[in-house]
Subunit: 208 residues, 2 copies
């Protein structure tokens, strides 16, 4: 009895690559479906009910975290392996909290995928090289930011100046200044450039 697998990633070539890798494995696996975004993932989960799904975390339209949450609604039994470009703490925790059983990075070697597959099939959790440390060593950037601070940071990362942000939020310049300083203190990032990168990493703003 072979293991049925669905691959979801927004890059066709990555999907083909993963499929090819799975095909070359010693475990008897069969790729029964592929998708390009979170919506595809949910549909495929409910229609095909695969044993395992490989899901990319960062995808357009609907990301891996939301997809995982939705999939657990339609089929709580499917075992989800998160495959990501980033080892961002928020992504990792997001996916694991959502119900993924394994998290591996694309940077990592192929045998991590094999290992992850073996572990999740046995009901175990597998975290790729360096992932466990990030999960455990949480604490450093818990993104303590409050709602308001997020709103301000978002606008800072869009290149807006204090006065513009104040006008947009109907607040005093001084209030925005206070938020700016508070954000800098909390994140220990003291330049707009670093704040912008932080905002991008944490999906608070987009790259465009």
């Amino acid at each position: 009895m072979s293991v049925s697998i669905v691959i979801v990633d927004d890059h066709q070539m990555v999907r083909d690559g993963l499929a090819s890798l799975l095909h070359g494995m010693d475990t008897d696996v069969e790729v029964i479906g592929q998708g390009a975004n979170g919506h595809d993932a949910v549909e495929l989960a409910s229609s095909l009910h695969p044993d395992v799904m490989l899901i990319d975390v960062a995808m357009p339209d609907m990301n891996g975290i939301d997809a995982t949450l939705a999939i657990r609604e339609v089929d709580p039994d499917v075992k989800i392996i998160a495959v990501s470009m980033h080892s961002d703490r928020n992504y990792i925790n997001g996916m694991l909290d959502a119900g993924a059983l394994a998290y591996i990075r694309k940077e990592s070697a192929f045998d991590e995928l094999s290992h992850a597959l073996g572990d999740v099939l046995n009901g175990k959790v597998y975290l790729g090289e360096g992932i466990a440390e990030i999960v455990v060593g949480a604490k450093s950037s818990p993104c303590n930011l409050t709602e308001r601070e997020m709103e301000v940071l978002k606008r800072i990362a869009e290149g807006k100046k204090t006065r513009e942000i104040a006008a947009e939020l109907f607040l005093s310049d001084k209030t925005i200044e206070t938020h700016r300083r508070q954000i800098g203190r909390k994140l220990d990032l003291h330049s707009v450039a670093e704040l912008t990168k932080f905002a991008i990493r944490h999906n608070i703003t987009t790259i465009n």
Copy 2:
């Protein structure tokens, strides 16, 4: 006589995937080396002299464009296929100008890779789905920045302040100020946040 190939991509899993795909092709190919960045690419080109190199455009340390330029110095005969996440005009033109013979996206299907490989081996140029249109319809974002301006922009996007950049480059504060203004004018981007995003998109800095 098989075709020797070297794969350069900063993601191990993507490399493995591509290798696996190549292995399953009808053409007789052999992957003789892999690298994770531009420096690896140049070294592998000069030591292995492969027939074809698959090179990712966006990589840390040394990107695909610079790598391609350097490779053409050490081995003008190696045929280079650019494999990229983005269909950014600057990336495409950069790679093709540098000497790549084909440009395909990871979003595209696997058979584009097969097609590109066949074409470059026959001395032809291959551009993936939609790439040709972008090349033809070029013009818009020529990224006019000079060497110096790139160095300054890189440091701006790292969150450094004028004085620090001046010290690093052994220049006057006023000179850096002039460069800053010139960069802003050329790109029509007037905030550090937007400049940072531009720098990230153009691989002048990293997200971290």
